[in-house]
C-alpha cells in the first residue's frame, strides 16, 4: 500500500495505491484518519487500486459516515476497474444508503452490477 495526500484550494485528495487488503488495513485507517482531520472536503483517488478486500470497503464506509456526521465531505473521485469489481463482489452496490445519516448520499449509491 502507498498513500499520499494532495492539498488543493477546494479540498484534499487522498491517493491510495497498490494492494489495499487486510494486511494494510491498519495503515489505511491511519491514512484516512489523517486526511479527514486535515480537510473539510476529501476526495479519495482509487485509480491506482490494484487489489483489496472487504476490510477496505468497511473502512471507506465508516469513514464516509463519520465525515457526514461531522458535516464534512468524503467522496471517491477516481476508481480503477479492480475497485469497481470489489464493490460488486461484496454486494455493496445499492440504491439507498444503509443508515439514516447517509440515506441519500451513500458511497455505494449508483454502482451497478454491470460495473
Amino acid at each position: 500500500m502507498k498513500h499520499s495526500i494532495v492539498k488543493e484550494s477546494e479540498g484534499s485528495t487522498l491517493v491510495l495505491q497498490g494492494d489495499l487488503s487486510i494486511e494494510s488495513a491498519g495503515a489505511v485507517k491511519e491514512a484516512l484518519q489523517e486526511a479527514m482531520e486535515q480537510a473539510e472536503s476529501l476526495a479519495v483517488d482509487l485509480s491506482g487500486f490494484d487489489s483489496g478486500d472487504l476490510s477496505f470497503l468497511q473502512l471507506l464506509c465508516s469513514a464516509h459516515r463519520a465525515s457526514v456526521q461531522n458535516n464534512k465531505k468524503l467522496s471517491i473521485s477516481k476508481q480503477s476497474d479492480a475497485f469497481k469489481h470489489l464493490v460488486v463482489a461484496a454486494g455493496f452496490c445499492r440504491a439507498k444508503g444503509c443508515t439514516e445519516v447517509s440515506a441519500e448520499n451513500c458511497l455505494w449509491i449508483g454502482g451497478s452490477e454491470d460495473g
Partner: protein
Amino acid sequence: MDNAKEIFREEAYELLEELSSTLLELEQQPDDLDLVGKAFRALHTIKGSGAMFGFDELAGFVHDIETVFDRIRDGGLQVTKKIIDLTLASCDVIKSMVSPDGEGFNAELQKQISEQFALMAEEKADTGDEESSPEEGTENAESEKPLTTHRIRFRPEKDLFLSGTNPLLLLNELRDLGDCSITGQTDEIPPFAEMDPENCYTYWDIIITTDRGMAAIKDVFIFIEDGCNLEIDTIKPETEDGAESKKLGEILVERGDVTPQTLDHALGAQKKIGEVLVETGTVGVGIVASALAEQEHVKRVQGERKQFEVSSSIRVAAGKVDTLVDLVGEMVTVQARLTQTAAREKNPELTMIAEEVERLTAELRDNTMSIRMLPIGTTFSKFKRVVRDLSAELGKDVALITEGAETELDKTVIERLGDPLMHLIRNCIDHGIEPPEAREAAGKPRQGTIYLSASHSGAHVVIQIDDDGAGMNTEAIRGRAIERDLIKPDAVLSDKEIFELVFAPGFSTAQKVTSVSGRGVGMDVVRQNIDALRGTIDISSDKSKGTTVTLKLPLTLAIIDGLLVQVASSYYVLPLSIVEECIELSREDIEEMHGKQVAKVRGELVPYVCLREHFSLDGSRPSLEQIAICELDDQRVGFVVDSVIGGHQTVIKNLGKMYRNIDGLSGATILGDGTVALILDPGKLAQQVEQQVAVA
C-alpha cells in the same frame, strides 16, 4: 506419476526402518508417549501417502494399526508385547506391499495381522462421525434438483479474517451455484474512531436460485460453519404458480426483521411501508433494501421460469422415438396397401377413406420425422474445444467459425456424423493450416480460420469445412499414390481425380506421424462413414488458398420420397430428390445412337444404365422403355426401366447381412401388396458401370 511412486517407495522404506527402531525402543520403555507418537506419525504418513499414490490396499491395512497407536496415545490402550510383535510383523508386510514386484508378500500373514488389529481397534468406543471433505459433499449435490430459491443471511464472526478466510470468495462461490442477489449489510460497521480495521463487521443477505440443493449451499460455508451465523431458508414456493409476489412487509416478517405487530402498525400509515419502517427506526435502510432485492429477485426468476415454460420441452427416451418412427413406417406401408386396394376395388367410398388416410399418414410421418430432428449445433460446439486444444498442441493459431448451427438433421445422422467431421477438422488443423510463421511469410494473417457451415439444400443438408490453409499439394498426393501403387507413374489425372485419391484405403501424405493424424484412420474411413449415411463427400482445393470439403447428407435415414419403377417383374426405388425427369426411350432412339448407351435429351447427350442388363434380368426389353434421369454430382445419368409407376413413400429397411455390401443398392422397402422393392444407389450404380466400361 511413476516417479512419484518411486519417491513414495523410498520414503516408505525409510519410515519402516524408523518405525522398527522406534518399536524396539518402545518395547524397552512402554510408557514413553513420545515414542508412541513417533510410531503413530510414521504409520500415519505411510497410510496417507500410500492412499494418495494408489496403494489403497496398503492404506486399508495400515489404517487399523494406526488406530491402535492413536488409542495408545490417548491412553485408551497399553503397549503390550503383542502389539509390538504384530506391528513389527506388519512392517515386513508393508514392505512387501510397497515393493514394485510384491516380493515376499504373504497374504495369509497380512490377513491375520489385519484381523488382530481390527479387533483391538474396534474396542475403541465408536466415534462414529466419519468426516467428509467438502468436495465429496459437492459431488453428492451434483445430481439435478429442482430450481429452488433460498434466502441466506450470512453473518460471520468479527474475527473472521484471523482464520485467513476471505468472505468475498465465498460469495463468488455462491454466484457459481446459481442466480444470486447479494446485499452487503453495512449498518453494523462501528463509528470510524472505534472500529478495528481487522474485524469483519459486514453481514450479507443473499437470495439465490439454484438447482444444486441446500447441501451445495452449506458446502460453500463448510470451513466456517462454527465461525459464522448462517441462516438458510427456502423461500416457500407457494408463489410459484404465478400468484402475486410477496409483499415487502411479508418478507420482512418472514425474515424476522419486523414483528407482525409492528407491521400492522406501520401499515396503518398511508405511506410506503419501507419508508415508514425506516423512519420509525424499526429497521435500517439496508434491511429494507435487501428485502426489496428479494422481492425483485423472485419476480425476475419467476419471469424467467414463465418464459421457460412457454418454450418448454419434454424429455423422451430416444428409444421411444425410434419405436414411433418404426410404427409410422409400418403405417405408411399399410396405407400404401390400402390405397392400392381402394384403386382396385373402385369403391368411391373406400377411395375417399384411403385418400384421407394417405393425407393423415403423410402428416404423421412429417411430424414424427421432425421429432427426430436436432440442430447440428450441438456437434459444432464440441469442435470449438477440439480446435482450441489441438491448435495449442501443434503450436498453431486457429479460429473456428461456425454457421448454420440451427440446421436440423436426423438424430441418427448427427450421431454418426460426429466422427467423420472430427477427422476432417483434425485434418484441417494438422495438414491444412500452416504454423503462424509460415502463414506470415505467405502474407496471410497469423491466425488460420476453419469455417464450418451447415445449410439445407432440398432433401439434403450440405456441410462445408473450409480452411484458409496451404491447400492440398497435388504433386505430393500424386507422388504418394504412385508410391502406393494406386496409379501408374504416367497416368494423366485432373485435379479432381487426384483429390479422389486421398480416399483410397491407407493413403496419408503427412510427412510424420502426429498424435492427430496418421493414426491409421484415414479419409477412406471418412468416406465409408459418409457412404453409410447415404451421403456424398467432395473435395476441392486451391494450392495456398485452402481446402473445401463438402458433405451432402440426406435429412433422414428412415423414410424418403422415392420413385417406384419396374423392370421385368422386379420393383426398384430411386430417391425422388435426385430424379430430374423421366423420358421415353424407343427402339429408334437406340438405333440412332448406334447402340451406344447414350440418349439425346433436348440436344444434350446423357449416358444411361440399362437396369435390365445390369441386373441380368430375364425377358426382353419392351419396345418402349423409360429413362429416369438423375442428377449425380454435376452430371446427369439415366436409368432405363420398363415402366415408371410413380411416387412412393419409401420406408427404408436395411438389407440382410448377406446383401449389405452389394454396391448400388442402399436398402429395401415393402410395397403395399407386400412385395419387396430394392432401393437403388444411383451414384454407386453409375460408378460401377463406368468402371466396367473402362475395363472393357
